[in-house]
Symmetry: C2
Subunit: 366 residues, 2 copies
Amino acid sequence: MISVYFCPMIINVDQAKLFEIIEQVFLGMDCSIEHARIASHSLISADLRGIDSHGVARLSGYVRLWEAKRINARPNIRVVHETPSTAVVDGDSGLGLVVAPFAMEVAIQKAEQVGTGWVSVRHSNHFGIAASHAMMALKKDMIGIVMTNASALVAPTFSKERMLGTNPICVAIPAGNESPFVADMATTTAANGKLEILQRKGTPAPSGWIQDSHGDSTLDAHALKNGGALLPLGGDREHGSHKGYALGSIVDIFSGVLSGANFGPWVPPFPSYVPMPENQPGLGLGHFLGAMRIDAFRSAEDFKRDMDLWIRRFKSAEPITEDQPVIIPGEPETETHAFRMQNGIPLLEVVWNDIMQTAEKFKIKL
Amino acid sequence: MISVYFCPMIINVDQAKLFEIIEQVFLGMDCSIEHARIASHSLISADLRGIDSHGVARLSGYVRLWEAKRINARPNIRVVHETPSTAVVDGDSGLGLVVAPFAMEVAIQKAEQVGTGWVSVRHSNHFGIAASHAMMALKKDMIGIVMTNASALVAPTFSKERMLGTNPICVAIPAGNESPFVADMATTTAANGKLEILQRKGTPAPSGWIQDSHGDSTLDAHALKNGGALLPLGGDREHGSHKGYALGSIVDIFSGVLSGANFGPWVPPFPSYVPMPENQPGLGLGHFLGAMRIDAFRSAEDFKRDMDLWIRRFKSAEPITEDQPVIIPGEPETETHAFRMQNGIPLLEVVWNDIMQTAEKFKIKL
């Protein structure tokens, strides 16, 4: 049995045990042992890093996509086009949690050979958190870059209509003695997961996060369900929303148009009950992944020495208030990862129950 | 003489004539004919695209940097390290306006050979607008990516201190029948040039653009001169400034740390009267440039057909108000470029006088 303790609504689960349960679920979906292991690793890395919205809380969502035959548990993931530094990978409708690590391996191999590797992916599905894949590059002394498009929730500047996903960008950069620099961000003011937290709490959203069905700024955290939209980073034109819109567009084009996947409003949705967009121009959803070998530019030793200097200088920048120093991107997630590896992953009771029900569906003994 | 007409404070100058004057100034600085031509092209492309803050208005600033011996008019720009898909270029303290096109040519040549090319540049200076260099890739059916670090004007989230430049990112993507997608943006809420316009007008800045010397949000457009700072895209933590800070940091690391240039608060300033930062860890300022051959991923024909579809679909997104359709990044600049090529470049009288004085310094006959 599992060692758990009860706070109000929180169940703490050992990460190794949680991994085992998830792996069994993916095996129950008829994934190969290797794919079940990779997918579980991708998924649980979100919980370990504290990105609870993208981790095991989504397990049953992936299962429902498989039940709706939108995910192929036995995909033939393959390179369909390549040059020495590039490739297009077709995910064969497999789990993005498996397709993205495959593509990142291709990028890393190409970087080993010619300095950098760049892979655009079509015919994939949701891949969890971008950081999980980008960080594969770190142990090879490479910079990892990962982005993905997603179904349309975001209105471009001046648009009433949702045209883009939250389209995250992750860049992972190795350091020497310091922890790596890992920026992983939606190209919106706030990720959808943060809005969902406000919805559960019943509190209003800050201005600049969402607009209502008329395109007017609103504080109603539920506006998205009523024809509203998330806003690009910047919030409105005066505060640079055209830049967030441009960033989300770049992610969409690199992931969708460059690979032959869907793009813009045609990207497949994550919830299995949402109908597929009509007249899709491509295959599945798209990712874009890159790896750059540090020593393709300068010695890894020199680079990491300077990265340590960069990180220490930024951490010691004069803070506005003494109790809140400047944070290096990825620093809180690295700390959460270390803590949760030791102390287990705290899950909301509702998430834990959902996992239990999913496990039951596959008759997994706990 | 030059064909000019006078609006209040505006002088309209034919672009070919303006090019000639600028070229003469660079020749007066002892640039080679080739470098003078390239630098003039880089500089005037900003005015042609309507980015007046980064064009000929800065000509006298470059001259002053040369007078202060911070710019080398006869640089030995060279590749100092390379792999099939990467290079580090040393700009030998040359004009960024010349160094960046050199580096972009290297990136394009590598992309021709192995699919993509990525060049990190050290020992350079200000390079004008990023779009000018990124768009070199378009005519080769390549995607161009250009970024640069710059002297510290921007405070990271939670910082009182200025640590980053406005660090722009440009991505230029070819289309078929439609105009190319060209996003060129500072990673701040607003570029410094926009703030300068408010300063001249004496109007307050919108919230979220700047903070004062205590790190408090302010509407005072002059706060930057009094120890304040520009804010990263997002404005404050609640609106995602940690994302703008992360983007500016990525630009700084790719441009500065990867090449061996300066980074963070050590990047050399543009105004020649501002002292150089002490204990600089690198050489000059840094850029990062990339070129990706479209057909290293899929046929350029298929890609451009889908880009046309992408552009048309986004332009036809349901607008909030009928009189303001959704804009494709680069669309206004493409229109301005076409108009100014035909109708001349409108310059503020103060800018025109500054160019005249600079020309006089080199005894250029007009």
